[in-house]
């Protein structure tokens, strides 16, 4: 067999996935912890306070990476959902539905940290600003995918429905984003514009470290969730039985 096809075939098989993701997860957690500790140290201790926003600017080191993750995960769900629907790869279905809670959590963190930051800076916890609103709509899109998945009895059908919904949502997401942007804008301009970041290196480094750390967190969390889902779905299958009997010895 062609080595590339062999690779896909292997990765798509639950026992193979279970075995190797288990080996990968500790490393992902380790990198995440190292990056987070260093990033938070730089962000919370070393980096200077902002001359306008004061100490509250430090919320950014959690807020901005979470907001990036919230959008990236939804995009990934759509891509994985597409692969799951077209090539019927079960691992991908499992990855889609395992991504949804992580993405929803990042969205919620971005919203909560944003509103905590808004109180001292804008003087209010919530305004109907474009980015806040589209982030809230994104949270509802996540809730929709999760609710749809939970409504079906049959897990594979549920995962395929959730995959389809995330594709539809992802096509709409940019439209929602721009329409809301156009509707009302009060938010800070992006710190990472196309003409280079408008932010000092001492603040940029912890931000980028945290942005990388969140990706490892997502990877580790996603794989752990996917493994659990696979075990639950396949608990009567041979490979899980073998695994259990091996562990009990």
């Amino acid at each position: 067999m062609n080595p590339i096809f062999l690779f896909f075939h292997k990765t798509g098989s639950p026992p193979w996935f279970y075995k190797y993701s288990g080996k990968l997860i500790p490393w992902l957690w380790a990198v995440f912890l190292a990056l987070t500790v260093y990033g938070l140290y730089l962000g919370l201790v070393v980096a200077p306070a902002d001359y306008q926003q004061g100490e509250s600017v430090r919320i950014m080191y959690l807020h901005v990476p979470s907001a990036w993750m919230s959008m990236m995960i939804y995009g990934l769900m759509a891509i994985m959902g597409f692969i799951a629907l077209v090539w019927r790869i079960r691992i991908m279905e499992v990855l889609v539905i395992s991504s949804a809670p992580v993405g929803a959590a990042f969205t919620a963190i971005a919203l909560i940290t944003g509103s905590l930051w808004g109180r001292p800076t804008w003087g209010t916890y919530w305004v109907w600003d474009a980015r806040l609103t589209s982030e809230l709509v994104l949270l509802f899109l996540y809730f929709g995918v999760i609710a749809l998945y939970n409504s079906f009895d049959e897990p594979r059908k549920a995962a395929r429905a959730a995959s389809l919904m995330s594709i539809v949502g992802a096509i709409n997401l940019p439209i929602i984003y721009f329409s809301v942007e156009w509707w009302n804008t009060l938010h800070q301009g992006s710190s990472m514009g196309s003409d280079g970041p408008g932010i000092h290196p001492s603040m940029l480094l912890p931000l980028l470290l945290m942005a990388t750390a969140t990706k490892f967190f997502y990877g580790a969390n996603l794989l752990s969730r996917a493994r659990l889902t696979l075990l639950k779905q396949d608990h009567r299958k041979r490979w899980v039985q073998d695994l259990l009997s091996k562990e009990s010895h």
Partner: protein, 227 residues
Amino acid sequence: MSKQATGTAFVALLRRDFLLAYRRRAELLQPLVFLLVVVTLFPLGVGPSPTLLANIAPGVIWIAALLATVLSLDSLFRSDFEDGTLEQMVLSGQSLALIALARTVAHWLVAGLPIVLLSPLLAMWMNLPDEGLLILIESLAIGTPVLSLIGAIGGALTVSLKRGGQLLSLLVFPLYVPLLILATSAVSSAVVDLPYTGQLGLMVSGLIASLTLAPFATAAALKLSLS
């Protein structure tokens, strides 16, 4: 499959849906009565001040239209699913996207178009200035087909669930956000004599995009629900 057979199937489906709709007249009236009741609640809730009502009129009418549409979407594929007609349609060999499109067009004609026709009455109740009336009708005429097309995806996804109605609204309301923003902004702009063609143009592009893409998503969702 010849072109003619496809066209014949489309027309046959439309005729069947109209006949079914006609036999279930009372059921079709419910979302429209709901629309009228929801709009009536607003003056009662916020007070009868004509200027306040005029300010919120585009939003209130459009939100009522969204709610009424979602209410009627739950039954879009349900009876066909329950009595097995949907399965026969899938087995017929005709393109499922085309079947979904026919069903959606029929839905718009019996559920969306009446909203457009009722809108002058709603505008009068909400004291919408005359400058906005025509644009309100136009925005509804462009927008309600999009509501049906996008909503059909949600209806197809939830058709095999026992309690799909609540889930359906959770699925489709976030997708309606751009349309709501554009439509209400067009009407509000027209009232204060600002240009509104940009918003209407974007809505038309949304209509074209959903007309060409949504039936395929609906077809995929139907196939999934039947599997």
